[in-house]
Amino acid sequence: MSKASQTAVAEKDRPEGWGRPLIEVHDLVKHFGPVVALAGVSLTVKAGEVHCLLGDNGAGKSTLIKTLSGVYKPTGGDFVVDGKPVAFSSPRDALDAGIATVFQDLAMIPLLSITRNFFMGREPVKRLGPLSFMDMDFANKVAREEMRRIGIDVRDPEQAVGTLSGGERQCVAIARAVYFGAKVLILDEPTSALGVAQTSMVLKFIRQVRAKGLGVIFITHNVRHAYAVGDKFTVLNRGRTLGTYTKTDISLDELQTKMAGDKELQDLSEELGGTV
């Protein structure tokens, strides 16, 4: 239990509904014509849990998250959100059901201000007779406060997002999803392009989000990043779930081996003198 307790949230601090299943998929299948991208994936994400999705290229990670976030419609299988079966027809439907996805490159528009990015698509308006205007003062205030909560002091929320670092941008995107009431957060490779300090900033924020009682699906190539924040690990291979493990079941090395498809990596590791 020692490893797990590093990241665990004390019982008394847990918000209501902790541990309740938010997303359940059973035997999810997705075909693209003759190509079978998902051949039966099962996954349960609970409130207050960081569920890491691991797998090599072509394992079906992207297809799975695009299905969960409403971009693709599944060919078969059950998809249950908050106890109710769902069939999303657009990303908007998924957002409305509380599933927010943060894509690695497409999270933010660099030329636009932090405020405009933060409220993009959900602008606060104030009415003036028949006209409605964007409530910039309110938007700036919220953007600035939410940034300070993460520990980014933006002096001017109207400065362009381009002036933020990559890690800060990911954090803004996550903060935005949380602010707008996401119940499940899907993070697509949030750390893959980041340096060490930036990665730790993002991972720390993921932990904060979990403590708030959200479910997080964290997609990554990097087993170390996954192990640092994850509670559960699902390994995908060739469109199937190889298995789901809790942190107490599996060690970092075992996870690494599982992810690479067991045998080949071991061989390669020997070839390279154990450095992989």
Partner: protein
């Protein structure tokens, strides 16, 4: 970054983390990243230059001012549309042809088929905006560059305007609109001169000069100017103060990112093409009712002038950045220089040299601003 020890609950107390590597961003620096800064500086420079070069030529007397204000106002109308569209990430090269087309749609039915002039004007707006919507729809659906699609409409519309005016009237210049439009409200809406009494009073008191026959040199405030200011103000307010404005920025900045958060990118782009068509039609209507005639070559090269005004005004060619105020200042620079060169007596060919140079400088300046804004090196 300073470590925050109490990870855990989300409602962590707000602690300001001061990064010693960042100096506080000054007000000045923020001003320097405004898109319209360059155009503002340019406008000041141009005024100073002509105050010296043409100060004694009547360029800044009432009729001289009206001279360059007319050019400015015309360009403000289509420049506002071009700037909004460019910020939304697209171009419209069919603006010039649209001006010729809309003018003919107003003139031919009125003169040859005795359609009430108001109906012709409405018909022109409807047809132009439908073509604009079609441009936008093709671009949104096929994801082809708007440059190519609207280049095609530039030629098709111009050809259609000439061909149809020959079919219906056997000529390419249709005149004689005045007798149908005199005393009509619609004609006044586009070509009236407001407050003639006030301008007479100004002339009688020697504030503005008189013509030899005693009439004031400027007979009133032309509706063209009113349209220009109204369109620019609405454009500016929509862009900077409304939710739709945020969607325009987002659509041009990164259409995919915008779609992912639920911005109706396609609807925004199609609407913006309709806006440029609307602006072109207003331009055409003002011109047609002013001259009482329509010509199928009206508006030639205006699409480029509109784009130049927008670019001088700080709009990025790649979209997502720019301002309507900038485009209006770009139009002002354009008008002052074009007319100013005439006032100084220099050959007007120099205007084109100046315009090209101005455009190049503006683009260089914009890309440096872009780097400052996004922090790229």
């Amino acid at each position: 970054m300073v470590e925050q020890s109490n990870s855990g609950r989300m409602e962590t107390p707000i602690v300001d983390v001061i990064d010693e590597r960042l100096s506080r961003q000054s007000r000045l620096r923020r001003m320097l990243s405004r898109p319209d800064l360059g155009a503002f500086a340019g406008a000041v420079l141009v005024f100073v230059f002509f105050a010296f070069a043409a100060g004694d030529t009547g360029m800044f007397a009432a009729d001289g001012v009206m001279n360059w204000l007319t050019v400015t106002a015309q360009l403000m109308i289509i420049g506002t549309g071009a700037a909004l569209l460019m910020i939304g990430g697209e171009f419209d090269l069919s603006v010039g042809s649209m001006i010729g087309f809309a003018g003919m749609v107003i003139a031919i039915p009125t003169i040859y088929f005795h359609v009430p002039v108001g109906v012709s004007v409405i018909l022109a707006f409807v047809m132009a905006m439908a073509i604009g919507a079609l441009n936008g729809y093709i671009i949104v659906r096929t994801r082809l560059p708007s440059f190519i699609v609207t280049l095609a409409s530039l030629y098709m519309l111009r050809g259609l305007t000439i061909a149809l005016s020959i079919v219906f009237t056997n000529r390419t210049i249709v005149s004689g609109l005045k007798q149908y439009s005199d005393n009509s409200f619609v004609a006044a809406l586009f070509s009236a001169k407001l407050f003639p009494g006030f301008f007479r009073w100004l002339a009688e008191n020697g504030i503005i000069n008189k013509l030899p026959n005693g009439a004031p040199a400027v007979s009133g405030l032309p509706m063209l100017l009113v349209w220009a200011v109204v369109i620019a103000v609405i454009g500016h307010v929509v862009l900077t103060k409304t939710r739709v404005g945020n969607w325009i920025f987002a659509s041009g900045g990164d259409a995919n990112a915008a779609r992912n958060v639920g911005v109706p990118v396609s609807a925004i782009k199609i609407s913006l093409f309709m806006v440029t068509a609307f602006c072109a039609t207003v331009f055409a209507a003002c011109q047609v009712f002013e001259f009482g005639s329509a010509a199928s070559d009206r508006g030639l090269l205006k699409e480029f002038e509109a784009i130049i005004a927008a670019v001088i005004g700080g709009c990025l060619l790649t979209g997502g950045y720019g301002s309507v105020v900038g485009a209006c200042l770009g139009a002002l620079i354009f008008g002052v220089v074009q007319m100013g060169i005439l006032f100084t007596g220099a050959p007007s060919d120099w205007f084109q040299v100046f315009l090209g140079a101005m455009l190049l400088i503006a683009v260089l300046f914009n890309s440096s601003i872009r780097r400052r804004v996004t922090g790229e090196r």
